[in-house]
């Protein structure tokens, strides 16, 4: 105990709770929660999902896979975060989203994550952006083969060290929440968004448009799938939110910002986001994955 007190003494001014035994329980104090082994900074992750109020099934799927290490030559912190929002009659939506999430996770685990553990310092794996693009294309083929008529959005984030590489098709979104503002870093592949970009619709008209859910790109649909792939530095001290339109289409960006910044842990934030979406009517399935990055 004394040893712990000594170790944490410089930080105790920051924490509200004087109880040193709270170290390792992230829910109590958010700042305390960052300092794991020997002061190594680590991410915190939360997830939330709900069928919503109006729908009878949940056609959304999510997956989170993270890893951290410590030691003399620690591995970079890594994580795989996937959200898929399925569509199509009967059970096609549920199966399409589940199949695509699994396919992309398997492909990335084999191609990228397993390589992280490789001790040879001369790694020969393909660039991450190419692996991610191929993984999403494989997910597309899997849905085409296994779920005729089915489709899904698919938004994947791969965290490696301090860089986030994103693969995206559809109208689920990734938000970077940093410095008191929210920024959508993905592009909605909906016709309505395209028309809004062209100035043919105002944002208000786009929000209420009867065909706002019509997509021009989706996994499992169309012959030539084009995946948006990009890499950004992780928002240090900020958040990354991946969510389906059951969340962003219903809860405003300022409300999302308030909920995310107001929670002491991303898990509480996700639960609150889902509550807010349902309180606003819950017209669609709701999915959220929230990552909080330590300050740099």
């Amino acid at each position: 105990m004394n040893f712990l007190r000594k170790l944490l003494a410089p930080f105790s001014k920051l924490s509200n709770s004087a109880d040193v035994s709270q170290v390792g329980t992230p829910y109590k104090d958010s700042k305390q929660a960052y300092f794991g082994h020997d002061g190594m900074h680590e991410i915190l992750v939360g997830t939330g999902q709900s069928t919503g109020i109006e729908r009878s099934h949940n056609e959304d799927a999510l997956l989170v896979l993270t890893g951290r290490s410590a030691g003399e030559t620690p591995l970079p912190e890594f994580g795989l975060f996937v959200v898929a929002d399925g569509m199509g009659g009967h059970r096609a939506g549920e199966v399409a989203s589940a199949v695509s999430v699994r396919t992309v996770a398997r492909k990335l685990t084999e191609g990228a994550i397993l390589q992280i553990f490789d001790t040879a310092d001369d790694k020969e794996s393909a660039p991450l952006q190419e692996l991610l693009r191929e993984a999403m294309e494989e997910a597309h083929q899997a849905v085409v083969d296994l779920v005729p008529g089915g489709g899904t959005t698919l938004t994947t984030a791969v965290l490696l060290g301090h860089q986030v590489t994103i693969g995206h098709v559809g109208d689920s979104r990734i938000y970077f929440i940093d410095d008191g503002k929210t920024e959508v870093v993905t592009r909605d592949h909906s016709l309505v968004e395209r028309l809004r970009e062209l100035g043919q619709l105002t944002p208000e008209e786009a929000e209420n448009h009867p065909q706002r859910n019509v997509l021009y790109r989706a996994i499992g649909q169309g012959a030539n799938l084009e995946v948006d792939v990009l890499t950004l530095p992780a928002p240090r001290g900020g958040h990354l939110l991946i969510c389906s339109d059951g969340l962003w289409g219903v809860v405003t960006d300022p409300d999302i910002l308030a909920i995310v910044n107001g929670a002491n842990h991303p898990q509480t934030a996700c639960e609150e986001l889902v509550r807010a979406a349902n309180a606003a009517g819950g017209p669609d399935n709701i999915t959220a994955v929230l990552i909080r990055f330590p300050p740099g």
Binding site: P76, L128, L160, R194, Y216, N224, T231
Partner: protein, 625 residues
């Protein structure tokens, strides 16, 4: 009432998507020879009509397999098919293939048509690998307008093709246009949540409302022509974004008159397009007549001539200047192949002093605290007082030094042909530490955040910390002669294997790579979200750093070995063709070109709005930006 047929041969009774194999005969009449193409629910086979046993009468057999589970939608697809078949039976136009027969078996429907010997435009585009000449495109476009006009004037209802795109247009061996696929397998499912309506890039905006009109066909024709002339596939771009890709920007050989015709066909509002296909045809014909008379310049318009560029001063040395100058404390320092380091006045170019090494100087000098550091082929790193050119100290390596030194944290970092990276105390010239690479190091080390990054001639790239411990290493197949760039946690470095690599700086993970048309020795530069780099394939590239996509490229007349410089909204870069180019950073358009008497292999530098660079014509130039 549909005729149904007896199942024949080995064709299994199946409801799946199995394709017909060669050797199967349909209707005891059509022998399947092979597959011509397929997609989704439909396939096209090459067949032979056995009712003409003495000759080979080829036919094209279109098959549609109706897999729709929903009953009313299934029936709708069947009705669509019948309607299209009936329509084709009544049409007669040289661009429309003749239909001979149609039949249905279980959930498969067939159309037997004239076989066309030729290629569709999608195949022609992929074979050509780029834009197609205006001459060919205009002749095809005129024929397409002609058949559109014919279809739109049918009675009682105009026939809207609804699906004009390169894969639906064939060019036969007489170079005539043939429309194929009158929508046999097309199904519209509008309105449901998340439904894709297959806007494949060529369809007009009003199609998402389910509206089909002659103006829609005109848009789709415009989209097809745009693809042919620009080489850019609209299916991989956001929909309705043709205005963002000006044809003449991408392909300067296209006449502006033709671009105007295409843009009108692509107007967002149907009312703003050509009122009829025949109007568009007239516009195309008059374009063809006019441009046939004009001779086109082969290069995009240059905004200013090089004799209007203001040369502030120039200075002649005794041999080639291969490297990059340094501007420091009012002076310009440049190494020359005559073994000297020259010091010139920054404002006037007046000679101040020169320092003689015993070997050529090809690198860029570094400076700190009034001392210059420069390597030479005489195997030494020289530390020289900047004000008078007097020697402060020399440090010996075991091979020529071609790399440019970097100064950081009180030390000078430099690579040498002796395959080592040397880290030398700035004040006294004593070695602090050194590490071994696998080959000579020509690239300049990048020092940032207590890490050193450098590549070597074997293709190995290293990251070391200040304790001389290797943090990571990346191997590529050819030499890394250029220096790396580090921005936002990512290291960007080019190699002679024709590739620009983007590596995550902590662990060396390859995040993306961009392939160019030749080896590169150019160090990349970053500005406005883009990476700029020169290449041995004569191009200067601008690459979006997030998406790893080419934003633009500019072709010079010879290799680009130096590195580009960004200053305000211009990019400056020299080429082995002897020119210093000034390009607009956003579009890559040429602003001006300044000619020198020999290849430019180094990079320009800037101070106070003056661009300074050296050339192998022995001169150092200072130009007003």
């Amino acid at each position: 009432m549909r005729r149904t047929t007896r199942p024949l041969g080995d064709q299994p009774d199946s409801d799946g998507l199995e394709k017909l194999q060669p050797g199967i005969t349909l209707q005891e009449r059509y022998l399947i020879l092979g597959m011509l193409g397929s997609g989704g629910m439909s396939s096209v086979y090459k067949g032979r009509d056995l009712h003409f046993p003495n000759v080979t009468r080829l036919v094209a057999i279109k098959e549609m397999v109706n897999l729709i589970a929903d009953q009313s939608m299934y029936e709708m697809v069947v009705r669509n098919f019948e309607r299209e078949a009936d329509l084709l039976a009544t049409l007669s136009h040289p661009s429309i293939p003749t239909i001979y027969d149609n039949f249905t078996h279980k959930n498969r429907s067939y159309l037997v048509m004239e076989h066309i010997d030729g290629d569709d435009l999608e195949a022609i585009l992929s074979e050509t690998g780029g834009p197609i000449s205006e001459e060919r495109v205009v002749s095809w476009a005129i024929e397409l307008c002609d058949v559109m006009s014919y279809l739109h004037h049918q009675h009682p209802e105009p026939v809207i093709f609804r699906d004009i795109k390169p894969s639906n247009v064939m060019i036969d061996h007489h170079n005539h246009v043939r429309l194929i696929d009158f929508g046999i397998a097309r199904v519209f499912q509008s309105g449901q949540k998340g439904t894709m309506i297959g806007t494949e890039g060529y369809s007009p905006p009003e199609q998402y409302r389910g509206e089909a009109s002659p103006a829609g066909d005109i848009y789709a024709l415009g989209a097809t022509i745009h693809h042919l002339l620009s080489g850019r596939d609209p299916r991989i771009e956001p929909p309705f974004s043709f205005a963002e890709r000006s044809i003449t920007d991408i392909n300067p050989l296209v006449s502006p008159e033709l671009e105007i015709v295409v843009n009108r066909a692509l107007e967002y509002d149907p009312k703003d397009r050509y009122a009829s296909a025949s109007n568009m045809k007239e516009a195309l014909i008059s374009t063809a007549k006019r441009t046939g008379l004009l001779s086109k310049p082969s290069v995009a318009a240059v905004i200013a001539h090089s004799d209007k560029i203001e040369e502030l001063w120039s200075f002649e040395c005794e041999d080639e200047i291969r490297g990059t100058p340094l501007i420091y404390e009012g002076q310009v320092f440049v190494g020359c192949y005559d073994n000297n380091l020259y010091a010139l006045d920054e404002k006037t170019g007046e000679f101040k002093w020169k320092y003689a090494a015993e070997g050529g100087i090809t690198g860029k000098p570094a400076a700190e605290d009034g001392v210059l550091f420069v390597g030479s082929e005489d195997q030494r790193l020289h530390a020289i007082a900047a004000n008078r050119g007097t020697l402060v100290w020399t440090y010996y390596t075991e091979g020529p030094i071609r790399s440019s030194p970097s100064v950081s944290d009180g030390h000078v970092f430099v690579g040498a042909d002796d395959t080592r990276l040397h880290v030398v105390n700035m004040i006294n010239g004593r070695r602090a530490w050194r590490v071994q690479a696998s080959a000579p190091i020509w690239s300049s080390p990048l020092v940032m955040d207590e890490r050193v990054y450098f590549g070597c001639e074997s293709g190995d790239f290293y990251c070391y910390d200040f304790k001389a411990e290797m943090k990571w290493r990346k191997k590529v197949k050819r030499a890394i002669t250029s220096s790396p760039l580090l921005v936002d946690g990512m290291v960007y470095v080019g190699a002679k294997d024709w590739t620009l690599y983007a590596l995550e700086s902590e662990n060396g993970w390859q995040v993306w790579r961009f392939r160019m048309g030749g080896p590169t020795m150019s160090t990349p530069t970053y500005a406005e979200g883009k990476i700029f780099i020169g290449c041995g394939d004569k191009n200067i590239y601008a690459i979006d750093a997030r998406h790893a996509r080419e934003s633009w490229r500019f072709e010079t007349d010879h290799q680009v070995t130096g590195s580009p410089l960004v200053h305000e909204d211009s990019l400056y870069c020299g080429s082995v063709d002897g020119g210093l180019y000034c390009l607009d950073i956003r579009s890559g358009r040429l602003r001006w070109k300044f000619h020198t008497g020999g290849p430019i292999t180094g990079s320009p530098v800037v101070s106070d709005n003056v661009i300074i660079f050296g050339s192998t014509d022995h001169k150092v130039y200072a130009l007003i930006a």
